[in-house]
Amino acid sequence: MKLELIGITKRFGSLVANDHIDLVVEPGQVHSLLGENGAGKSTLMNVLYGLYDPTEGEILVNDKPVTFKGPGDAMAAGIGMVHQHFMLVPVFTVAENVALGNEATKAGGMLDLQETRTRIRRISDQYGFDVDPDAVVEDLPVGVQQRVEIIKALVRDAEVLILDEPTAVLTPKETDELLGIMAQLKADGKSIVFISHKLREVKAVSDVITVVRRGKVVGTADPSAPTTELASLMVGRSVSLTLDKKPATPGEVTFRVQDLTVQAANGQHVVDGLSFEVAEGEILAIAGVQGNGQTELTEAIMGLQDHVTGSITLNGNQLLGRSVKEVIRAGVGFVPEDRSVEGLVGTFSVAENLILNRYDDAPFAKGLSMSQSAMEQNAQEKIAEYDVRTQSAQSAAGTLSGGNQQKVVMAREFSRPLKLFIASQPTRGVDVGSIEFLHRRIVAERDGGTPVIIVSTELDEVLELADRIAVLYRGHLMGIVPGTVSRDVLGLMMAGMPADEALAQAHDVQGGDL
């Protein structure tokens, strides 16, 4: 199936997200879209998938113009989409999720799930997916959930498959498997539109690369073009992809975690017998695929988890069993992984969010009364210092862009003397410029002598920031390796291989990987 986008323009109010974009997807082709945050890639795909109406422009399928009133029309035309945030109903089974919107029915509108199961098994077998139709989606690992998404598209006989940042949450191994699946699909004559920020993957699978900047197509590139060329095409200037930081000068070990175990509500040990230490002036990165206990580990340190055993000490003081407030007062700074859910109160002003965990300390509070002027003054200082782009200190934090929201959280946490700094996913969804700024602030904090823990699922970020790297897999520590270790070793550890084995194996196959 040949797909053609001609002059697609999409406006949100005064913002032009897509500006006369032309794009052709040939049958049996992997067509990659590259572009920085907010370039308009997802918007374009949402237009193609019928979720947004284009303001202007035309879509041609096999040279015939079509209009999509909704995703239903797009699917009927043979377009399938796998969204970055999975569009799966968590409490439904795989079969129910696959059936939804495309239900096989018996008499009287009754569901025929058996039929759906059969189809799932057929596709599973064909592409080696290994998916149980009766598993409940929320119990499945992300990699499998993604396959469910692909099955959803294939069940509907999609000829064109849109994959929007499909690899962001996958382990290197799962990524490899996905790339394999893409090759198979392509061999079956299906076309794929592939969006990713990871240039290596793009280069590996693409037939054609289109680069988008500020809503416009700025050019196409050959998959064989060098990475730096692609990067500068994306951003519009030459970029240095590395952060220069001095080597760490670790001091005294002040933070210790010993034999830490966290039980989830369902009884599972999500963190299991974890022990590690962090010294003043060093960054320990905790790597691992999302959902391997990182969240629970940081929450346990903060006093946000209930069933915790073991010991957590900071400067010799036990933190375990303390309330969140006491942990904060002990000098722990915390950037939670989901800033809009845990880091900020969206309806509160920027000024209020800047003192969210200091509202009852001097100078913001005198007794029960809060000082507006102190709050305002603090806001002005932080906004200037961190270059927070906001209309005013009184704007609701929820109206800020992701990068600026993150700056607010960081500014708040760095605004008091810290004995320990923990940041989860400090730059998730943040654009390149801001990433650079935030990384420099974190390194500066380290250089000031604070022990720092960074939790990140982005290998690039981990490798860039870490002095030492700990890898978590299913709540267990796979080992702690130096920050200079190779990407392949980390990949193996993230897939559940202990550090020593991984180091040995990576040595064996060195050079054979991507």
Binding site: N46, Y49, L51, Y52, G70, P71, G72, D73, M75, M81, H83, F86, M87, L88, V89, P90, V91, F92, E96, N97, A99, L100, G101, N102, E103, T105, G108, G109, M110, L111, K152, K173, Q263, A264, A265, N266, G267, Q268, H269, D272, H307, Y473, R474, H476, L492, A495, G496, M497, P498, E501, Q505
Partner: protein, 428 residues
């Protein structure tokens, strides 16, 4: 690569459970309570439960039991079950469901024997107690089904009270004017839909907070019906407010079965519709295309949208359907229970239905039983007051509400609402 997965530390099954002591503790406390009150504090007399009347087609003998015997047997059995639960929990295993079920049944039997035994007349018509419970539960069941339909598709329905009241009003007026109870039934459904329409338009089309719309709708319907009641209905109640009743349809033979016959097979059309509605909503919700889409829209509307399901149309239709159900429930007040409309005659039953819906965990069957429990508690307090108890009548009348608080706080606790319930869906 294969070594990577095998070398991952395996988790043993035994250490993978948090031992929740909540259930064993509750069971133990209740069992102890049973021992003290039902066994040690048992009245010394016999208790009679009558199952049928003398002139019924099938006459069953009454059950006569000794209060102390029942009290002791039940209490000891409950203690045994509690002990079993403690043992199971200590060894890290789950408490089987049958333990809880048997425990609940024992408690109910012991409690009934004890309260009836303590009354001045320790003799009760069990069939009447149950039939009355069902009667009291009918509007609650319709109301909570209406709630299920709305909330399952992501719209919080606080307006059940208004739907019931408007249904009752419309049924009374339409039936009086037309002289036909069936026209009244139809009008009730239409009235329920009208209330739903406002709820849908404001909460879905104009994205007004659903709780606000619901609360305000209740006030609106109360004011509107109250106004029309005094301005029109009371002026000429012969013409406006003397609806004919819905006839009771007896199913031959089946209606003669003692105890359950009158409850199941001797109802008006509204009564039969109730059973049908519970079954249909249950089956449709979990086994039909409509149900799958409804649940998807209530859990994760965006996912449904990306699969071509029109979220807001789905919600709109379900809210309207809910109006039909609640409206028919409202007709029970004026076409079955009593003959005529009275100001605010639903008396907060819509809110109780809401409680039943949550207590029943957003499941039609669960809501059905929750409503029955409430009806039972209410009628039990009625019956106890006439048998003569030392408990002041004001406290007896608190019983259903106290039971609900205990049920919601103790047994249900944090229940999981449909993921998107109460959250408007704004496309793109």
């Amino acid at each position: 690569m294969s070594t990577a997965t095998t070398s991952a530390p395996a988790r043993s099954a035994s250490d993978a459970t948090v031992r929740s002591w909540k259930n064993p503790i509750i069971l133990s406390v209740v069992a102890l309570f049973a021992l003290l009150v039902f066994a040690i504090g048992a009245p010394g007399n016999d208790v009679t439960f009558r199952l049928s009347e003398e002139n019924d087609p099938i006459v069953l003998p009454s059950i006569v039991v000794s209060a102390p015997v029942i009290g002791w047997v039940a209490a000891l059995a409950m203690i045994a079950l509690a002990a079993l639960a403690i043992l199971r929990t200590r060894s890290g295993r789950k408490i089987p469901v049958w333990v809880l079920a048997v425990f609940a049944v024992l408690f109910l039997i012991a409690f009934l024997t004890w309260v009836v035994g303590s009354a001045r007349t320790p003799n009760v018509a069990l069939y009447g107690l149950l039939a009355g419970s069902v009667t009291l539960a009918v509007p609650l069941i319709f109301g909570s089904l209406s709630g299920v339909l709305c909330e399952r598709s992501g719209v919080v329905n606080i307006a059940i009270e208004g739907q019931l009241l408007f249904g009752a009003f419309a049924a009374a007026v339409a039936a009086s004017l037309s002289g036909s109870a069936f026209v009244g039934l139809l009008a009730a459904a239409v009235a329920g839909v009208l209330v739903s329409l406002v709820l849908a338009v404001f909460s879905i089309r104009y994205v007004v907070n659903q709780v606000i719309v619901g609360v305000v709708l209740n006030v609106l319907v109360s004011g509107l019906t109250g106004f029309l009641f005094s301005a029109v209905l009371s002026e000429d109640s012969e013409r406006w407010n003397s609806p004919p009743r819905l006839p009771v349809i007896e199913i031959p033979l089946l209606a003669d079965i003692p105890v359950i016959g009158p409850i199941l097979f001797q109802q008006t059309i509204v009564g039969y519709l109730m059973y049908i509605a519970v079954a249909v909503v249950y089956v449709a919700l979990y086994h039909s295309r409509w149900g799958l889409r409804t649940r998807a829209v209530g859990e994760h509307p965006k996912a449904a949208d990306t699969l071509g399901v029109n979220v807001n149309r789905m919600r709109f239709m379900n809210v309207l359907l809910a109006g039909v159900v609640a409206g028919i429930g409202g007709s029970f007040f004026t076409l079955v229970a009593v003959s005529g409309f009275g100001r605010d005659m639903t008396a907060g039953q819509g809110y109780i239905a809401l409680a039943a819906l949550i207590f029943g965990r957003w499941n039609p069957i669960g809501a059905f039983f929750a409503a029955l429990l409430f009806g039972f508690a209410t009628n039990l307090s009625n019956v106890l007051s006439l048998l003569g108890t030392p408990v002041p009548d004001q406290f007896l009348r608190m019983l259903p509400y106290v039971v609900t608080v205990f049920a919601v706080a103790g047994l249900v606790g944090r229940s999981r609402a449909p993921g998107a319930s109460g959250i408007p869906y704004i496309k793109g």
